[in-house]
Amino acid sequence: MTPVTESRRPARRAPGPDAPRGGPDHGAWFLVLPALVPILVLSVGPLLYGVLLAFTDAQSGRTEPTRWIGALNFQDLLHDTLFWESFRIGLVWAVGVTVPQFLLALGLALLLNQNLRLRWLARALAIIPWAMPEVVVGIMWRLVYNADAGILNETLRDLGLGDGHDWLSGLGTALPAVVVVGVWAGLPQTTVALLAGLQNTPRELHEAAAVDGAGAWRRFCTVTWPALRPVALAITALNVIWNFNSFALVYVLTNGGPGGRTRLPMLFAYEEAFRYGQFGYAAAMGCVMVAVISILLAVFLAGRLRGGDKGGDGA
C-alpha cells in the first residue's frame, strides 16, 4: 500500500474550493477547454452579440457605421402587423403539430410496448422520418400533395371523394397540409422518448392493478400516466420549442405561401435578415420570439407541475 500512496502526486491531495471528490482540478480544466472555447466563441458569444444587434440599425452591405438606436426596432416591431400575423401562424403551427404528435406518439408507444408481431417493422419504419433530411421530407410530401401526379388526390378520386385539391397552394388547405407533414416528421422522436418512459413504469404495479380488476383505461390513468408524466412534459415542451423554430420543412413545402398563410416566424426573420439585409430588425424579432416562447412555456410547465402536486399521484 505505502509505495502506491507515495506515487500519487501531491496535487491530488489538495482539495480546491470547489474541488470535487477525488482528482485534481487543473487536469479537468485542460480536458474541458477544447469544448469550452468553441462553445464560447460560436454559441454563447454570438447569442449575446445577437441580443445587442437588436438594439442597433445593423444592415447588410452598408458602409456607414452601425449605430445604437435603443428600443426603436422593438417599437417598430410592435406595430408590424405582418410580423404578428406570422407569429400567430407560428403558434398555430407549433400547437397544431405538437398536440397531435403527442397523441399519435403515445398511441404508437403503447402499441410498441405490447407484445405484438410486426413490432420490429414499426421500429424500422420509424427510422425513415427521423433519419431523413428535412429537405427530403418536404420534397417527398410535395410529391404526395401534388395536384395531378400526387397520390393523395389519386386516392381521393379512387374513393370517390371528389376531384382533390391543390393542397399546398390553396389558401385554406396550405397550413393544415403543412401541419400534417410536421406531425409525420416528428413522430419517431416523440414515440421513442415516450417508449423509454413506458419501459420505466413499474411492471408489478400493472399486474397488481390487473389482479384487482382494473380495466385498461384505469390502469393507464392510475399506473402508466403518473410514471410517464415527467417524460411527457419534457418532450412536449421540447417539441413546442423545436416546432416553433422549424424552418426547412415549410421552406421547401410552400416557402411561406400562399399569400403568407404558412409564413412561420423563422421564415419571416430569415427573409428580413438575408433577403432584405435588415440584421438589427431581424435580431429584434429573434429576441421577441425567444421571450414569448419562454414565457408561454414557463406558464405551461408551472401549471402542469402544480397540477401534478394537487393530484397527489406522487409523481
Binding site: D18, L36, R142, C287, M289
Partner: protein, 277 residues
C-alpha cells in the same frame, strides 16, 4: 395480463394504420423516382411504375452538380463528426465524473441550447464568420456544425462515461495515472462503442442540416446536398418531379444506412466483459 381477442385485433389494426402512415410517403418518393415523364404527366398515377426507368437519375445528375454537392456534404459531415467527438469526449468525461461548477454549468447549457433560437444565432454567426473570412466555405460550416452538435454529443457521451465503472479508473489512479492518461488508456477504449454512436449521430445531423448551409454557403460549388436539392424546385414552385424525386432518394440513402447502424448497435456487451474479468 391477458388481452381479449377483440382488443388484440384492434391493436393490430392500429399498428397497421401507423405502418401505412409512416411508410407511404417514402414509397411514393421511390415510385416517382423510377417513373418516366409520360407517366408523371398523365392523370391517374399508379403506385408501381408501368415502365420503370433510370432516366430520372441520369437527368438529375445532368441538371445539378449532385456529385460535387455530395462530396461537400461528406466533408462537412465527416469533419463535424470527428471533431465533435474529439472535443466532446474529454469534456463529457469531466461532466460525468465531477460534481463541480463546470458539470452543473455544462448540464444547464445542454438543456438551454435545445431551446436555442436559430434566428438569434444565425445573424451574429454570419457576421463573425464573415469577419473571419469563413463565409462560403465548408470549413466555416464544419465549425458551426461542431458547436451545434456539441450539446447532444456531450449529453450522450456523459451517459456512456457514467456506465463505465469507477473502480477501473480508481485502479488506474492508484497506479499513478493522471486524468488524461486515465481517460486515454482506461476509459476511452471502453467508450469506443459510445463514441462511434455519437459520431454517427453527429454525421447524420450534419448531413441533413439545411438552415445554416443555406445562409452560409453562397456559390453552387460550395453548397451541400440539401441546399442543392432545393434548386430542383423553380422560382414559381414548379419542379421536374422525376429528377427531383431521384435526387432526394439518393441524398437520403446515407442517412438511412448510418442511422440504421446506430439504432441496431448494442452498447452493453463490451462493458459487461470489462466488469466480469
Amino acid at each position: 395480463m391477458r388481452t381479449s381477442k377483440g382488443a388484440r385485433a384492434g391493436q393490430y389494426a392500429a399498428l397497421l394504420a401507423y405502418l401505412v402512415f409512416l411508410a407511404f410517403p417514402f414509397l411514393w418518393l421511390i415510385s416517382v423516382a423510377f417513373k418516366p415523364p409520360r407517366e408523371l404527366a398523365g392523370l391517374h398515377p399508379t403506385w408501381i411504375p408501368e415502365n420503370p426507368t433510370l432516366d430520372n437519375f441520369r437527368q438529375a445528375f445532368d441538371e445539378q452538380p449532385l456529385l460535387h454537392a455530395g462530396l461537400n456534404s461528406l466533408v462537412a459531415a465527416l469533419g463535424a463528426a470527428v471533431i465533435a467527438v474529439l472535443v466532446a469526449t474529454p469534456a463529457a468525461y469531466v461532466m460525468a465524473r465531477r460534481r463541480g461548477r463546470f458539470a452543473k454549468a455544462a448540464t444547464g447549457w445542454v438543456v438551454v441550447s435545445q431551446a436555442f433560437p436559430f434566428v438569434l444565432l444565425i445573424i451574429p454567426l454570419f457576421l463573425v464568420l464573415k469577419n473571419l473570412g469563413l463565409i462560403n466555405s465548408v470549413a466555416g460550416l464544419v465549425m458551426v456544425y461542431v458547436v451545434w452538435s456539441l450539446p447532444f454529443a456531450l449529453w450522450m457521451l456523459a451517459g456512456y462515461v457514467r456506465a463505465v465503472p469507477r473502480e477501473l479508473e480508481e485502479a488506474a489512479a492508484v497506479d499513478g495515472a493522471g486524468p488524461l492518461r486515465t481517460l486515454v488508456s482506461v476509459t476511452a477504449p471502453l467508450l469506443a462503442p459510445g463514441i462511434v454512436a455519437t459520431a454517427l449521430f453527429a454525421f447524420v445531423t450534419a448531413w441533413n442540416e439545411f438552415f445554416f448551409a443555406l445562409v452560409l454557403l453562397k456559390t453552387p460549388e460550395k453548397q451541400t446536398l440539401p441546399v442543392v436539392l432545393t434548386h430542383f424546385i423553380g422560382a414559381e414552385g414548379v419542379a421536374d418531379l422525376g429528377p427531383l424525386a431521384a435526387a432526394a432518394f439518393l441524398a437520403t440513402l446515407p442517412s438511412l444506412v448510418v442511422f440504421a447502424l446506430v439504432q441496431r448497435r448494442i452498447t452493453g456487451g463490451m462493458l459487461a466483459g470489462a466488469v466480469k474479468s
